[in-house]
């Protein structure tokens, strides 16, 4: 194992880690806000990837340019899902936890079925996008352009998210609702509205991730499954309730995955990530930055 190989896997791991963080951001936001784990998160990502694919086929818009449009569409979609499904799951009179799991899981299955119905189970990809297949080389280390772009989008998104949460009224309302969703009503914040906007924002974030992934990943109805478990692990590792914990955890997951691939057979690289999760939560049962 040369220093070159280690540097290469470090860089690849970092880029992929930033993308994992972006995929997990929406999940972390929604969980932090209202304690709901969206078991259709992978299908949200899949929908966003098909949206980017659709825009490319219909108006040959490059996925990188399509990202804001995909995010906007996903914002609406996320709010609708909250209003149409999650709202009712949260007000369940019993077993609220299981009801949320299975209501969102059922939604995910429906979305997969719809994707199969509309697009067939075939693998699609976006040919000849600006960045697809291009690489840069710095000091002997290869930087694939799509992953690099994804990492930049991730950094910019988390920066914007920080500004939204800390510098806007909406962000302050979000934080207040997160801390005490009962008391915010007293200061005139409409909890339901914040929840709906929170779901919209969460879905918009996964929309950005989907548009970026569509550049270099195959698009098929089950594609979400490959990312959703990593996203759950990322969110829990960072600590439930902490969006920026998910950012740090995503990078860590990417690095550990790349490191595992150096020493383990490629098909076992996720075992390293799972071991990381178990090690961290067994030592620190609320994740890296979670609050109890």
């Amino acid at each position: 194992m040369t220093a070159q190989a280690v540097a290469q896997s470090l860089v690849s791991g970092l880029l992929m880690g930033l993308i994992y963080a972006l995929v997990a951001a929406g999940l972390a936001l929604v969980f932090g806000l209202m304690n709901v784990v969206n078991f259709a998160h992978g299908e949200f990502l899949m929908t966003a990837m098909y949206a980017a694919f659709g825009l490319f086929v219909a108006v040959s818009l490059d996925p990188l340019l399509a990202a804001p449009f995909v995010a906007a569409a996903m914002f609406i979609f996320g709010s609708v899902v909250y209003l149409g499904v999650v709202r009712f799951a949260m007000s369940a009179s019993a077993n609220a936890g299981m009801v949320q799991i299975f209501a969102t899981f059922g939604l995910g299955v429906v979305m997969r079925g719809l994707a199969q119905l509309l697009f067939t189970p075939n693998y699609r990809s976006i040919p000849h996008s600006w960045l697809g297949g291009r690489t840069m080389q710095i000091a002997g280390v290869y930087l694939p352009a799509p992953q690099l772009a994804g990492a930049c989008v991730s950094l910019a998104t988390f920066g914007a998210l920080w500004l939204i949460i800390n510098r806007t009224d909406f962000g302050r309302a979000l934080e207040a609702t997160r801390e005490d969703s009962g008391a915010v009503a007293l200061v005139g914040i409409d909890r339901k509205r914040i929840f709906a906007l929170g779901w919209g924002l969460g879905a918009a974030l996964v929309g950005l991730a989907g548009a970026v992934l569509a550049i270099f990943f195959y698009i098929y109805p089950d594609v979400g499954a490959s990312f959703s478990l990593i996203a759950y692990v990322t969110v829990a590792l960072g600590g439930f309730g902490s969006v920026f914990g998910a950012f740090a955890a995503g990078i860590l997951v990417g690095l550990v995955e790349a490191g595992s691939a150096l020493v383990l057979p490629a098909s076992l690289k996720y075992v390293g990530v799972y071991a990381l999760y178990l090690l961290v939560v067994l030592v620190r049962p609320r994740g890296l930055f979670g609050s109890l």
Partner: protein, 327 residues
């Protein structure tokens, strides 16, 4: 004789169960269609699996979405012993159960300190790691899995070419045993400990309940029964690979009937499986062949509708109504 309503209800339950077993046992007299018999076997198997899952997740409150690990362990131990060492499944199934119980204890020992979603995700990633390891373990056939040679009908080897009936009666017995275990647990001190631990672990601990040990017992028992189901399934379909016995879907499929029927109730898993599995299989056979995903859409809508419409489960809803009706 006593007139204690509680004891009377217990006695009613056991009579109802024996009655149900008797009626189900007579079904093959009228149902000769192989496809329908197949659905019946699966329904009974899921009733038993969900009942096993319910012991840990419903009664003890430790939500596991990683039971596919124990199911797969049962299937693989049974078939490795059978195909590599010629050990009959009658010994393989309990051996698989024991291995799974040991794994469950080994998983539970560090993980029971985790709470809520941290625990749920730990169960998922441990099962997923097991799945990846099986995909790479050449001795156990890796991704190709194990093809179980079936040469002739044999009770000794528990395999049958033509008839589904032996599988049917085994599955019925298995479902009844799983029910009976739950029935006996309900009245034991374990059940009171679990309920106390579920509602408020710290308070229970301070009253002298050994919360940790009672969770370990629930995990081991639940895993043992689930693994026996895995061994049975492997014999029933006579082919296993990591995807078909250890996939994440299985963990959800085992939990679903109990959630639908009533989490932590005696009858919930059986009622849930009795409704859900036939519906799933019917949808699959009528809409699944098209490859257009219609079966997924119907199934997903069904799951959503059930979760949102009957959050306390069917059994919970019925008992609530009955209690309301009483003076």
């Amino acid at each position: 004789m006593t007139s204690d309503p509680h004891i009377k209800a217990r006695r009613e339950n056991i009579f109802v169960a024996i009655g149900v077993v008797f009626v189900v046992a007579c079904l093959p007299l009228f149902v000769t269609d192989v496809y329908v018999q197949n659905v019946l076997v699966l329904t009974l198997m899921y009733a038993a699996l969900s009942q096993s899952w319910n012991i840990l997740s419903g009664f003890c409150g430790q939500i596991s979405l990683g039971h596919a690990l124990y199911f797969g362990t049962g299937a693989y131990v049974t078939e490795l012993l059978f195909t590599k060492f010629g050990v009959a499944p009658w010994f393989g199934m309990p051996a698989g159960g024991l291995v799974a119980a040991v794994i469950a204890a080994a998983v539970g020992y560090p993980c029971f300190r985790l709470k809520g979603h941290y625990f749920v995700i730990a169960t998922i990633v441990i099962a997923e790691a097991g799945y990846l390891l099986m995909l790479n373990w050449d001795y156990a056939g890796a991704a190709q899995g194990i093809d179980i040679p079936v040469r002739a009908d044999s009770w000794a080897k528990f395999q049958f070419l033509r008839s589904k009936l032996p599988y049917f009666y085994f599955a019925l017995g298995f479902a009844f045993v799983a029910w009976l275990v739950t029935y006996m647990i309900e009245e034991s001190r374990w059940s009171y400990w679990w309920r106390a631990a579920k509602d408020n672990a710290d308070a229970a601990e301070s009253l002298g309940v050994d919360v940790f040990r009672s969770k370990m017992a629930a995990a081991a028992l639940s895993a043992f029964l689930t693994a026996v189901g895995g061994g049975f399934y492997a014999q029933f379909v006579s082919y296993i690979d990591p995807e078909s016995v250890m996939g994440f879907q299985f963990s959800l499929l085992m939990a679903l009937p109990a959630v639908l029927g009533g989490l932590g109730t005696l009858w919930g898993p059986a009622v849930g499986a009795g409704i859900l599995i036939p519906l799933t299989e019917l949808t699959r056979s009528f809409a699944g062949g098209s490859g257009k995903g219609l079966d997924l859409i119907i199934y997903g809508l069904l799951v959503m509708g059930i979760a949102l419409g009957r959050p306390e489960g069917i059994v919970g809803a019925v008992t609530k109504r009955a209690r309301k009706g009483r003076p």
